[in-house]
């Protein structure tokens, strides 16, 4: 054994230590260099800017995508674009393009519905199997057993699909969104779409937003609002929407009591004589004489052979004031002198009439400020102040967008529209105005060609009438709720009970009923009862777990589209530009191609009749030929509608991304042109409502759900933010930008011994369904009310990783009972819950 001296040992140990030190230092240096390299990486930018419109939510704002080295990295606003974006949703589009969650290949379900077990199949297999199944369903139940639903993606093309599959049952989401407002608008103006009636934000002085946040959806609207330095905004909402961070005034209100608030404003404006008498007399049906049965007095009532739609007023131009045709009267009275109230009918009997205005005043008088304050929780003085400010500024009350909250919104929107009319602020600068006609071609219209009825597409294909007769069968939801534009809940009834007739197949195109419809258990049950459920989407929404086939759509960066600018008062068009191909491992195909290919394989004649060819099975060919000619036809027709050279139109769209055809012209309706209402005027007293048996005047009606009473019971309201959409909610930045907690007011939290961050269990009072979520204690929600963001939390799809952030929190629709509103159908997003602290 070698003897080791002390010195040797020390030398050896020293050498060893030295080596270790040197080695360690070298390795440390290497790591340091690596970190430095990553930090120093200053690759020069290779920037490209491409203009398009965004599809991260339904607003479709114009944006400029910033690409670096061919990859989307960021988004820019476009100065001068009639509807410029962008919000957090648009800015998150770089995460959509190459997101690991993106649907990559057609999927075929192999397990039970809800298990989320799929196998990847090739396109032909998927499409052929779907076609075969569809064919079998149609043979047994007819074309009308096919239902299609969508959101704003591809919505211009949905009309085509109705002809393609010969079904009337294309049912959108308006019943759980803007439907109630649509009916109210139709009943007041005859113009119904929420985009066709909007405040003139560019010139308004004072905006009252009730049941409308303004800050949630179209950034083009936000842009106009914020550029107007003179604009005062008052937002009335049970929770503080994002606009409450601005200089806007936020007034908290008890959910479902908006109508009482608005009627109180109307009452104050009427009783303090702050209304625009001239406008009411000349351009509304306020002076119309109404009989005790609620029907308007017409010429036919007082004279044999008189017109049944010649509405009568009391004209003070004559002495004494006498009955006159409203179209000829020059000074129709709003308030009748008592001695003129008796009218003799043609049969000799007499009736006491009131003017519509008087009836409105009576109705509003039910809600003096003290009473309204009790109902709404808003201080009396605030109500009076808002009424006076609204009149003094000649304010405008937004006619709402996403309105399906408590089931009584029809009345709320009616009251909002009447409020605008009271101050005479209709179609004037700064008022509630009607959008210019877009002159945008319909993609398919029915016309008579050479004596025969055809459905003609914009690109010239013609489908003979025999093929689309089925398309005119009554739509399932219109059978039940003819007044609303759609009530999707009825589709579930048709699936589950065959009422009014069975629906057996459902296509979901870029839309998630589990995120947007109420009573999720019913949605799931309906899915399980379908014979065929096909989801066409880009991300795994919760619905995919129940689908038979899941098909990957392209995203908006990967295709071209032309559409009218949705949220602008002007007539303008913008385009979506293809700037990318799908990532190499994503075999996505256009939803349009998918539907046509299914049709071709199931009912080839129908597809051919709409201009499809066998060669289009090649997606590339379809793009190069079919879509190209489609887009060119659209631009051609658009140019000819506007009497412009198509080359000019194309160049503007190419270079600027948009084209402005006609700026909004004010003072048109009902001043120069009649409104499409029975009276041709603004209907304070809705004659259409009378016809369909609804209350012609608004009133405060209770919400459809059981109201909270006990100290641990709350309203549960939900809403959105500029980061919330069904698709954007899954983007990585939203992990931090969307709160998946339930908001609770500090006073309620203290009473229940709940602290910020605590876990609570919510139980739907009407459904008994229980869910858990963390609490955020904040004064941004009113006492007695809980708030949570919809569409973005409590996600369940098995295709989401188990630890995905969107699984946190709750989907409030599970707790909701889906009670339809009387008259309009349509559901309520709000509900009531019982709360219990868990930890």
């Amino acid at each position: 054994m070698v003897s080791l001296t002390r010195r040797d040992f020390v030398k050896l140990a020293g050498a060893f230590a030295g080596l270790a030190l040197v080695g360690g230092a070298a390795y440390a240096a290497r790591t340091q260099v690596q970190r430095m390299a990553l930090a120093q990486k200053k690759e020069p930018l290779e920037l490209q800017y491409v203009r398009t419109f965004c599809s991260m939510c339904g607003a479709l704002c114009g944006i400029e995508v910033v690409l670096n080295g061919g990859k989307p990295i960021a988004v820019r606003a476009i100065d001068g674009q009639p509807q410029t974006g962008a919000c957090g949703r648009g800015a998150s589009l770089p995460w959509l393009y190459d997101n690991p969650l993106r649907l990559r290949k057609p999927l075929k379900r192999v397990g039970e519905k809800g298990e989320g077990k799929f196998v990847e199949v090739d396109w032909d297999t998927a499409l052929n199997e779907i076609a075969a199944k569809l064919k079998a369903i149609v043979e047994k139940h007819g074309f009308k057993s096919i239902a299609i639903t969508h959101h704003d993606i591809w919505s211009g093309y949905m009309g085509l699909f109705q002809y393609l599959f010969g079904t009337p049952n294309r049912v959108d989401h308006s019943g759980s969104c803007f439907g109630h407002g649509t009916v109210a608008r139709r009943h007041t103006f005859g113009i119904e779409h929420h985009r066709f009636v909007d405040p003139d934000y560019d010139n308004a002085n004072y905006v009252l937003a009730v049941g409308r946040t303004i800050s949630t959806a179209s950034m083009g609207v936000v842009n106009r609002v914020m550029r107007n330095e003179n604009l005062r905004i008052v937002v009335v909402d049970p929770r503080a929407p994002e606009i409450a961070f601005t200089s806007a005034e936020w007034i908290p209100i008890i959910p479902g009591t908006d109508a009482a608030f608005l009627l109180s404003l109307i009452h104050i404006i009427i009783s303090e004589r702050l209304y625009d008498e001239e406008f009411l007399m000349r351009f509304t049906n306020a002076p119309f004489l109404i009989k005790p049965d609620g029907r308007p007095l017409v010429e036919a009532d007082i004279r044999e052979g008189g017109g049944t739609t010649v509405y009568l007023v009391m004209d003070a131009a004559a002495t004494p004031p006498s009955l006159a045709d409203h179209r000829r009267a020059t000074r129709p009275l709003l308030l009748l002198p008592e001695e003129r109230r008796e009218v003799t009918l043609k049969d000799g009997s007499s009736v006491r009439v009131k003017t519509a205005f008087e009836l409105l005043a009576e109705r509003a008088a039910k809600y003096p400020p003290a009473e309204a304050s009790k109902i709404t929780g808003i201080p009396k003085d605030t109500i009076v102040r808002i009424a006076r400010e609204f009149a003094a500024y000649r304010g405008v009350a937004d006619d709402t967008w996403y309105a399906a909250k408590n089931g009584n919104e029809y009345d709320v929107v009616r009251a909002l529209l009447i409020l605008n009319a009271l101050v005479g602020n209709i179609d004037r600068r700064g008022g509630l105005v009607f959008r210019e006609d877009q002159g945008f071609p319909s993609f398919v219209t029915e016309r008579t060609v050479e004596g025969r009825r055809v459905a003609e597409t914009v690109y010239g294909a013609r489908m003979p009438e025999a093929m689309f007769a089925d398309r005119h069968a009554p739509r399932v939801d219109r059978v039940k709720y003819p007044e609303n534009t759609s009530t999707f809940d009825v589709v579930f009834d048709a699936i589950l009970k065959g009422d009014p007739y069975p629906i057996k197949a459902l296509f979901l195109i870029g839309s998630s009923p589990m995120a947007r419809e109420m009573k999720t258990s019913k949605v799931i049950e309906a899915y399980k009862n379908l014979e065929l459920l096909v989801v066409i989407d880009v991300l795994p929404q919760d619905d995919v777990d129940y689908a038979d086939y899941v098909l990957p759509d392209t995203i908006f960066l990967e295709r071209d589209e032309t559409t009218d600018i949705k949220w602008s008062l002007h007539a303008a068009t913008h385009v979506q530009k293809k700037m990318l191909d799908p990532p190499p491992d994503v075999d996505a195909r256009d939803a349009l191609w998918i539907m046509f290919e299914i049709a071709r394989r199931a009912f080839p004649e129908r597809a051919y009749a709409l201009g499809w060819k066998d060669e289009y099975a090649d997606h590339k060919r379809y793009r190069e030929e079919f879509m190209k000619s489609f887009e060119e036809a659209v631009k051609s027709r658009l140019a000819s509608n506007w009497r412009m050279d198509v080359a000019v139109v194309r160049r503007e769209l190419d270079e600027k991304g948009y084209i402005m055809f006609k700026p909004k012209e004010f003072g048109v309706r009902p001043y120069r042109t009649a409104l499409p209402t029975p009276s041709g005027k603004v209907e304070i007293y809705s004659l259409r409502a009378v016809t369909v048996g609804m209350d012609p005047l608004p009133d405060q009606r209770p919400p459809l759900y059981t109201l909270p009473k006990a100290p641990n019971e709350f309203y549960l309201v939900n809403g959105k933010s500029p980061n919330v959409s069904v698709h954007a909610a899954l983007m990585e930045p939203m992990k931090y930008l969307i709160e998946r907690s339930v908001w609770m007011n500090p006073k309620d939290a203290e009473r229940l011994g709940i602290k910020d961050g605590d876990l609570i269990e919510l139980e739907g009072i009407d459904t008994g369904v229980k869910r858990r979520a963390r609490v955020k204690v904040t004064e941004r929600v009113r006492e007695g009310v809980l708030f949570t963001y919809a569409q973005s939390a409590g996600r369940t799809s098995k295709l989401l990783p188990p630890d995905h952030f969107a699984r946190e929190g709750i989907n409030p629709h599970h707790l909701n009972d889906a009670r339809p509103a009387p008259g309009t159908g349509g559901n309520t997003h709000n509900t009531s819950v019982r709360v219990r602290k868990v930890m």
Partner: protein, 187 residues
């Protein structure tokens, strides 16, 4: 030339577009589980401050480009410095040793530690730095739909930011600390 930022609290609707755009500066953090552990946030240079009591109030917080920057004073190597041509506070990563005193020194909490490189990060990020050098707007300003942001030379009276400062009521954050920030908040 002194480049400065402006943020209009009367107009900002907290849409988050600026914050998410800012994350374009850190593509390597896009799909990280914890892109910014220090802020529990995205890998971005802008964070949100919200008052939950009383009238809802918001501040969007990013580097204030102080004229009297505590981070520059604290930096031992001179890595954190004020760029003489523009007045922007920058970081020379060659000299940075990662002592984190700049992160500690910033009273605004405008800096964060990058989880992969372990360097301090702040506005402007690498992409916006290049954009600014080319005379273009930083990504946060370019995207804002509410026109609540501006950026430019406050030494140029004709610049839009100078005109806004003149026209509106502006304030700055934590002025009592004497940092002389160049991030103007319109109130």
């Amino acid at each position: 030339m002194r480049l400065a930022y402006l943020w209009d609290s009367r107009k900002c609707i907290a849409c988050g577009a600026c914050i998410i755009n800012c994350a374009a500066n850190y593509p390597e953090l896009r799909f990280e589980k914890e892109p910014n552990p220090m802020w529990k946030w995205l890998g971005a240079n802008i964070r949100r401050v919200i008052r939950e009591k009383g009238k809802p109030e918001l501040r969007l917080l990013s580097c204030q480009h102080c004229e009297n920057a505590p981070c520059v004073t604290a930096c031992p190597t001179g890595a954190s410095y004020i760029e003489p041509e523009t007045g922007l506070v920058k970081l020379n990563k060659d000299k940075c040793i990662g002592c984190k005193s700049c992160i500690v020194a910033c009273p605004y909490g405008a800096r964060w530690l990058h989880p992969k490189t372990m360097y301090p990060e702040k506005c402007p990020g690498p992409v916006c730095e290049q954009l600014i050098a080319r005379g273009e707007e930083p990504l946060c300003v370019a995207v804002c739909p509410a026109e609540a942001r501006d950026f430019g030379d406050i030494d140029d009276p004709q610049s839009s930011i100078s005109q806004k400062i003149k026209r509106h009521r502006v304030s700055r954050m934590l002025e009592h600390l004497g940092t002389e920030p160049k991030y103007f908040v319109v109130r």
